[in-house]
């Protein structure tokens, strides 16, 4: 019994739930504390009266500093904060903002004070201001958020000071707070940019001057709104800076967060909100950089995620990855019923709810006074700790009683036991896993949950069809990069790169083929394969399934899950089979479960289609292969060469034309020979005709044209006889050399030569 929440090792990943909770509580507390502090002061009218009598109260500044964080301004907009002063003059008791009340109250106090002590006058006031400032500095240290406080401090001093304009001026002149100095510095920095912000500053300063003016107040109000609007624009401009100057790297997270928000706002309405002369790429690169910093991902993964999600969803996804998913359990219907289990757990002080309409066995645990992974019910096998997303592939598989089912990578046994429970312990399940250590938990869970129909094996999944085949259903929960479960394992954020993704994608392709080969298509009830990963990258999901569709006699069928997003049928440059929209994707931000991908395939024939060998050069994405096969074919056909290269160049296939270039050179040489040779004459015409057709067809028909080349070449070979055959190897050698050496200049030279030849 005991400490482990989950016997399946899941707990080890990431910071514990408790750590997260505490953090949340902290922030919540932070929200409440200022309220509690300010409320009594604001509400008690007696206190205000007493304060009037008090000569030098030191409590007021605290009010000011503590109320202001609610504004949530950042350093950059400190300028726009100044106009807020006028509210103090208005003195509206029903104003909603706490800070407004404070200002008003404070001002009243000050006025009263002035009335009481008219003689002490301004000197006194000035001293007070100085004191307040010191006090505020002290307060800063106590508060949690430095940034806000800094700004607020600035704000506060101005407020206090402007109670008496003279005093303000003096304080401005004499004792500047470090923050004020910083603000000035900031101002100077911005002055470098010829932007509207300067104008704003001026305007604001003016407005400060005519503080008393009522109309000024109105315009101030406008300004305030404007200020917030412009704040965004200004943010844009300011965050352009780091790219140019490279100097303002140590920004705090709050600023970056704000910048991300603003940036995304701009990117979502790019045509209307963009800054003139800035390309989308600039915004994107900055956004990428900011996201990497704020959420601590590596560049590669952020790029992948940006490709995957629209920008509005991206932040939701990243935020969702910071929050742990709810703990869910699955009732073991072999031993108990959900209602009984829920009752038993509630009696133990567990707060739970049914998981959702889609599952009859799932329960969500909100909180628990006992460790949920060590209750007597757990040990007796009445339930299994299992993520909600792990239910889905098994539901999609929908195993029937008496079937033979293979779970290819079964550890830690959650899905295996779910399959067994759906089959009511009939039939046979083969639970396989490549990792012997992880199989121990499979065995433990199988026995704990009372599953008796399993065979546990320790093969590599790729060997499987050789071990045993003929399964009615196969579940392949492929090993993956884990980009869907970042909430569980934050190490994924930084540890994955292109190579990792490709490596697991390659493994997955091997596994899916062997899984398909293990399925018996002629099974009366089944013949299904469910492929799932806890990754959300397209390389590991749609691409793998698409690959399987091409390689084997399988087709996609609906998963039977009525929620989740459809899989991609097209992603960037890739186009997948249209039926891939039958697959399902699940995301942490939209479904509150781990990122997951589920595809259900039906095998309709046990015949493994023979790999089409001739097709290889047809592939558009394999130009190298085409190049490699081309040269030997091309050499023999003399006149063809020259003509053929033209459409290719027009097609813009640089690599092809490059490779051909060398051939062209030789071809031109040979062509001169060919001209002398009268026997080639009629043949040449024929070839030209064929070639014209090929040119029309463009790139797609090229292989066909090449075939004709081949035919022609063989004919030419017959005509010319042995001397030509002998020449072949030599030519190839030189060709290879030339290929290696060829640079841009040489390529140009060759094309020129080609043109000359054509003119002739």
């Amino acid at each position: 019994m005991g400490r482990k929440l989950d016997p399946t090792n899941k707990v080890k990943r990431g910071p514990g739930r408790k750590a997260r909770k505490q953090k949340g509580a902290e922030t919540e507390l932070a929200k409440f504390i200022p309220d509690e502090d300010t409320e009594p002061k604001r509400l008690s009218s007696r206190a205000r009266k007493r304060a009037a009598k008090r000569t030098q109260s030191s409590k007021k500044p605290q009010d000011v500093t503590e109320t202001q964080p609610k504004k949530g301004f950042t350093d950059e907009n400190s300028k726009w904060l100044k106009p807020a002063k006028r509210k103090r003059k208005l003195g509206e008791p029903e104003s909603e903002d706490d800070s407004d009340d404070e200002h008003w109250e404070e001002d009243e106090d000050e006025e009263e004070e002035e009335q009481l002590q008219p003689k002490k006058g301004r000197k006194e006031q000035k001293n007070k201001d100085a004191k307040l400032e010191v006090k505020k500095d002290e307060d800063d240290d106590d508060d949690d958020d430095d940034d806000d406080e800094d700004m607020v401090d600035d704000y506060g001093t101005l407020d206090d000071g402007s109670g008496d304009e003279d005093a303000e001026e003096e304080s401005d002149g004499e004792d500047l707070l470090p923050i004020e100095r910083a603000a000035k510095k900031d101002k100077k920095q911005k002055d470098v940019l010829p932007t509207e912000s300067d104008d704003d500053d001026d305007e604001e300063e003016e407005e400060e001057d005519d503080d008393d003016d009522e109309e000024g107040e109105k315009s101030d109000a406008d300004m305030d709104e404007e200020g917030t609007v412009q704040a965004n624009i200004d943010e844009e401009e300011t965050f352009k800076l780091p790219g140019a100057e490279e100097g303002i790297i140590p920004l705090d997270l709050k600023t970056i967060h704000q910048r991300i928000k603003d940036n995304i706002d701009v990117l979502c309405n790019f045509s209307s909100k963009r800054e003139e002369g800035k390309a989308r790429a600039d915004y994107m690169s900055l956004l990428k950089q900011d996201l990497c910093t704020y959420y601590s991902y590596n560049d590669f993964l952020i790029e992948k995620l940006i490709d995957l999600f629209p920008l509005s969803e991206l932040v939701d996804f990243l935020e969702a990855n910071e929050i742990p998913r709810p703990v869910t359990i699955r009732t073991n219907t072999l031993k108990t019923r959900r209602r009984d289990l829920a009752q038993a757990l509630i009696n133990r002080g567990v707060n739970l709810d049914p998981l959702g309409k889609w599952s009859k066995v799932g329960l969500v645990i909100y909180d628990s006074s006992v460790p949920i992974g060590a209750t007597p019910e757990y040990l007796a096998g009445h339930y299994m700790l299992q993520g909600a997303s792990s239910f889905l592939p098994v539901m999609a598989l929908s195993p029937q009683e008496g079937e033979l089912v293979l779970d290819m990578s079964s550890a830690p046994g959650g899905k295996t036991t779910y399959i067994a429970q759906l089959m009511r312990n009939t039939g046979v399940i083969v639970a396989n896993d490549a990792n012997a250590d992880r199989l121990k938990s499979v065995v433990g869970n199988i026995h704990r949950l009372g599953v008796t129909n399993t065979v546990v094996s320790n093969y590599d999944g790729r060997q499987f069809p050789k071990v045993m085949g003929g399964f009615d259903r196969v579940l392949l929960d492929a090993p993956c990069s884990g980009t869907g479960v970042i909430a569980k394992d934050p190490a994924v954020k930084t540890s994955k790169d292109e190579a990792d993704i490709n490596r697991s994608a390659h493994l997955q392709k091997e596994l899916i083929l062997s899984a398909i080969d293990s399925v018996n298509a002629d099974s009366p009830s089944g013949g299904y394969l469910v492929y799932c990963t806890c990754s959300i990258t397209v390389e590991e999901n749609e691409w793998v399934v698409d690959y399987a569709l091409k390689k084997r006699n399988v087709k996609l069928v609906p998963t039977g899950l009525d929620f989740g997003k459809e899989g991609f049928t097209r992603f960037r440059e890739r186009r997948f089979h249209p039926s891939l929209k039958l697959t399902r994707r699940f995301y942490p931000h939209s479904h509150n479960m781990d990122g997951f991908f589920v595809a259900k395939l039906k095998k309709f024939s046990n015949v493994i289609p023979a790999a089409p060998t001739q097709k290889v050069p047809v592939c558009m994405n394999a130009p190298e292969a085409a190049v490699a096969t081309d040269p030997p074919e091309k050499k023999p056909s003399e006149s063809l060469k020259t003509k053929k290269t033209v459409p290719q160049q027009a097609g813009g296939l640089k690599q092809m034309s490059k490779a051909n270039g060398t051939a062209v050179k030789k071809a031109t040489n040979i062509q001169q020979k060919g001209k002398k040779d009268p026997s080639i004459g009629p043949k040449k015409a024929k070839i030209a005709k064929l070639d014209g057709a090929a040119a029309k067809g463009g790139n797609a028909k090229k292989p066909a044209a090449e075939k004709t080349d081949e035919i022609q070449a063989s004919k030419a070979g017959k005509n010319k006889g042995s001397p030509f055959e002998k020449k072949k190897p030599k030519q190839r050698k030189t060709h290879m050399k030339a290929k290696k050496r060829m640079g841009k200049n040489k390529f140009r030279k060759l094309t020129n030569m080609l043109k000359k030849c054509e003119k002739k």
């Binding site: 019994m1 040990l379 033979l404 499979v442 008796t452 065979v455 546990v456 045993m468």
Partner: protein, 180 residues
């Protein structure tokens, strides 16, 4: 994987009969198909013939577990029941002990059962009789050996042991590695 030898069968059945008595017949002659015991890596597995046939596909070194593990033969040739056999012991058990909710935790941590935690006990339980331990909600928690007969249990002081602990479901977590 091989069938048990005569001697092994005898040792194992003797052990099993301590808990389920003559009900052992029901394990072998089942209405839903023939079941059998097989030895693999010193461990005894109980499975249906159907699974057995499929399991032969898998080579010996790659086979981890088949059906249900009942226990293992020690190096000295004795048979030791594992907690994994509880699913088959509990329904057929002849002598049972119920544990009070307060003492459940203690038993699941591997401690012997004290008189103070004893909720109910089958009448006529003899000393050193194998018993299956249940919670008051009739959830099987493990098995052990009665330290005292039912008669004695009534008299002894609350802190004396009434059931010696042999296996409990806490072992699924505590000793997951050694179950197979």
């Amino acid at each position: 994987m091989r069938p048990l030898t005569e001697e092994e069968t005898k040792t194992m059945f003797e052990k099993l009969s301590k808990y389920i008595g003559e009900n052992i017949k029901l394990l072998v002659d089942r209405p839903d198909g023939s079941y059998c015991f097989r030895l693999h890596n010193d461990r005894v597995y109980y499975m249906s013939e159907k699974i057995l046939k499929l399991a032969t596909n898998i080579s010996r070194d790659k086979l981890v577990s088949v059906g249900t593990c009942f226990g293992k033969f020690t190096k000295t040739g004795k048979f030791r029941l594992h907690i994994t056999a509880l699913d088959f012991l509990a329904p057929y058990a002849k002598f049972k002990v119920w544990v009070k909710p307060g003492a459940e935790q203690s038993f699941l941590y591997g401690n012997h059962l004290l008189k103070s935690g004893l909720g109910r006990i089958t009448e006529n339980t003899n000393q050193y009789q194998g018993v299956v331990v249940y919670s008051m909600a009739d959830v099987p928690l493990g098995f052990g050996v009665a330290a005292k007969s039912t008669q004695e249990c009534r008299r002894v002081d609350p802190m004396s042991i009434v059931v010696f602990h042999q296996a409990d479901v806490g072992e699924f977590i505590r000793s997951e590695d050694t179950l197979t």
